[in-house]
């Protein structure tokens, strides 16, 4: 169904715009180029934050001070958290693959507001720059953790203001991206693409867009309040001035729990695409997949209290938040069920992206089930603020979103670059990455149950063995990540030319050449069939 067969159209990489050299990228309003700007920024920040994570694991290889002192450790987990959450995982899939593929998958030539899209990237870079400045300027780096909990966040001598403003600007960038995608999906779908003929990746971006739009302003205003507290001594959250630190936690998690769904929903969308394409079979229960994405986005608003079970809430609130937390697991379970059912009796093509998707399902389930344990009130009292929580959210956020990100990167690599990657090295990298991941975070469940708290640079001798295993896992994981990234860069030079549809996918991006032409479609496609038509 390649409608452009035989027509030579310069790809978006060769397209001559108004500007030359680096300016043809940083002044480009082409959604594909902006997607790649995000890809490179995110990979750079990911590398920095991952190295900091590795340093923390090295510190934890033995009790007592190993390589860094307590204050540096505090600054490290703060920076690791801020960069990973706000600058890597939240924008990860939407800003990179959403930007690149959302317009193509719905048959549009660009997003609804291309200039606003470029502005989002500039805001993103500004936000990260502010966070970086907070590390070097002023009275030392912030040490509050990425949650900026009051009242410590306005008592610490650390240089909080740039970090808080940085997170605020990053939030603004995220809102504008979400807004852009919502309008794009509402207004620019190709003729004939009704809502229920839209592929699942755009659908999850749609659900994500609403969460970005309606949840992010809450953290925006909360961070502004923290800034006002530090600058003007307004007592919003300071108990000595009548404020309530608990209220800060409520406001913070009102955003930051839905933010987890900003991270995971597009990941689920990308995984759905990968599994359907590599099983050569339409997605099982398409309507349920759509409904569960919306349900996750909706219910996700009402579960924030489960971060605060031990902070002091009424019994009624505890029960309600616990119940809602269990409820939000149902749509996620529907998705897992439907992915497995899609593979059932499919003609599975064992390619690298499929392995990533399979690994995703495994780690996501471990993360999800451990989430249920944390959602039950009695168990939570024991596990709160231990390494168990650390393991749980790394399984979801890194395991879920991270695996989906790498899966999507391999899945769409031929389309983005026009080159095939080296499958053997990609698989070696994946195996190391997966093994390292399980070895790194698996022992943390055990350490948590045994009572090892999070956010300490030191620990009791009884936790030593688990920590050694975990640190070794971190080294394996990093070597796997290095192989993956080096392999992809190598494949840019040495890879064979990618055909327009290397995996046999059915969605629109596979109907145009690899890499896509600057205008995506020479003729606007007209849609008459569903997105996964394998019959």
């Amino acid at each position: 169904m390649n409608v452009h067969e035989g027509i030579e159209e310069p790809s978006y990489l060769e397209h001559k715009g108004k500007h030359r050299g680096i300016f043809s990228w940083i002044f480009s309003t082409d959604h594909k180029r902006i997607g790649l700007l995000y890809l490179f920024s995110i990979l750079s920040f990911f590398s920095i934050a991952a190295i900091i994570g590795l340093l923390m694991k090295l510190e934890l290889i033995a009790p007592g001070k190993t390589i860094i002192n307590a204050q540096t450790y505090n600054a490290f987990f703060t920076l690791h958290g801020i960069v990973m959450i706000f600058a890597v995982v939240i924008p990860g899939l939407p800003a990179v693959f959403g930007n690149f593929f959302l317009p193509i998958m719905i048959g549009a030539r660009d997003v609804a507001f291309p200039k606003l899209n470029l502005l989002s990237w500039y805001l993103y870079v500004t936000g990260v720059t502010l966070v970086v400045i907070s590390q070097f300027a002023g009275d030392g780096p912030p040490d509050t953790g990425w949650t900026f909990y009051a009242p410590y966040s306005f008592r610490t001598a650390g240089n909080m203001l740039p970090a808080v403003f940085g997170a605020f600007v990053l939030g603004f960038s995220s809102i504008l991206t979400g807004l852009n995608f919502l309008v794009t999906i509402h207004r620019l779908r190709a003729p004939g693409m009704t809502w229920l003929k839209m592929p699942l990746f755009p659908w999850t971006l749609y659900a994500t867009g609403w969460v970005q739009l309606l949840a992010t302003p809450i953290i925006g205003i909360t961070l502004l309040m923290i800034a006002a507290e530090r600058l003007l001594h307004i007592g919003f959250f300071d108990p000595t001035l009548g404020g309530d630190p608990l209220l800060y936690q409520h406001l913070f998690w009102t955003y930051s729990h839905p933010a987890v769904y900003i991270m995971i929903l597009p990941a689920m969308g990308a995984i759905s695409e990968i599994i359907s394409t590599h099983s050569h079979k339409g997605i099982f229960g398409y309507r349920f997949m759509v409904a569960s994405a919306i349900a996750i986005a909706f219910v996700g608003y009402f579960v924030w209290g489960h971060h605060m079970f031990t902070s002091g809430m009424s019994g009624t609130a505890l029960y309600a938040f616990s119940l809602l937390t269990f409820l939000v697991a149902i749509p996620s379970a529907i998705k897992v069920f439907n992915w497995i059912s899609t593979m059932h009796k499919g003609s599975i093509d064992l390619q690298t992206p499929f392995f990533w998707a399979a690994a995703f399902i495994f780690v996501f389930m471990v993360g999800g089930f451990s989430g249920l344990i944390l959602g039950s009130l009695a168990a939570n009292v024991h596990l709160h603020n231990t390494h168990f929580v650390l393991a749980h959210f790394h399984f979801i956020v890194f395991g879920g979103t991270g695996f989906a990100f790498f899966g999507a990167l391999h899945y769409w690599f031929p389309k983005i670059t026009g080159k095939m990657f080296d499958t053997r090295w990609a698989n070696v990298g994946l195996v190391l990455f997966f093994t390292g991941f399980i070895t790194l975070y698996g022992p943390m469940f055990y350490l948590g149950v045994k009572g090892m708290p999070r956010r300490y640079y030191d620990y009791d001798e009884i936790f030593h063995a688990g920590n050694i295993v975990s640190t070794l896992g971190a080294l394996v994981l990093i070597s796997g990540a290095l192989i993956i990234i080096i392999n992809l860069f190598n494949s840019l030079k040495t890879g064979s030319k990618a055909p327009s549809n290397p995996w046999g996918g059915k969605t629109l991006e596979w109907t145009i050449p690899s890499p896509p032409p600057a205008e995506n479609f020479i003729e606007t496609p007209v849609i008459s069939k569903g997105p996964y038509d394998y019959r």
Binding site: A112, F113, L116, I175, L179, N180, L182, V183, H186, R187, L188, L213, L214, A215, T216, P217, I218, G220, I221, T222, L224, M225, A228, L232, H233, I234, G235, F236, L241, G242, G243, D244, L247, L251, T254
Partner: protein, 202 residues
């Protein structure tokens, strides 16, 4: 942009984006309204007494000013649609003047408070107790953020006015004017909530 139906389609897209942006803005203030209600509930007496001290007169004048300015910008949209450029410009200038008048009032109002040593961080305010500290903290923060929105709104309207003078915005394509109108109405709407919350509930 020559094709009229294409221009219309683009206008619809642009307006839709603006509405979504307004949702975000509302939730930005929504967070503050939550904080306000929690602290009002806990310090009912102090909030009640502190609210009594604000000048209902200035508040009312400012409310009337904003309501009129909202209607003048709405009328300017109709004027441009009816191809009456002169009237549209006159109405926009009126809107800007009214917006500035609002800010001038705000300046004198804040100035009075600050002369009486009522501002966040002031030792005299701290002596009056936590309820008052919270009330005035919220008062300055919320009306301050609102005033910032007024300033941004005025900047937009000034740019739009310039575009109308140069005929960049014309009866064929005036979605930018409509969008600034929407934004200005939102600023107005937020004030409609701020006014009773701070001045009237006593």
């Amino acid at each position: 942009m020559n094709n009229p139906s294409e221009t219309q389609e683009k206008a619809l897209t642009s307006r839709f984006g603006m509405w979504l942006f307004l949702f975000t803005e509302m939730l930005l203030f929504g967070g503050l309204f939550v904080v306000y209600s929690v602290y009002r509930f806990r310090n009912a007496q102090a909030f009640h007494l502190a609210a009594d001290e604000l000048s209902v007169f200035i508040g009312t004048v400012n409310t009337i000013i904003l309501l009129i300015s909202s209607s003048t910008i709405a009328m300017s949209i109709t004027a441009i649609r009816l191809k009456n450029k002169k009237l549209a410009l006159l109405l926009l200038f009126t809107t800007i003047l009214l917006g500035l008048a609002f800010l001038v009032n705000k300046y004198f109002e804040w100035g009075d408070h600050i002369r009486e040593h009522i501002y966040p961080g002031s030792a005299i305010l701290a002596l009056r107790g936590q309820g008052d500290v919270l009330f005035y903290g919220l008062y300055f923060f919320m009306t301050g953020l609102h005033a910032l929105h007024i300033i941004i709104g005025l900047a937009f309207i000034a740019i739009i006015t310039g575009l109308i003078i140069r005929d960049k915005i014309n009866p064929g394509s005036y979605v930018l004017l409509e969008n600034s109108g929407l934004y200005w109405h939102l600023v107005d709407l937020i004030w409609i909530f701020l006014f009773p919350l701070f001045y009237l509930i006593t």
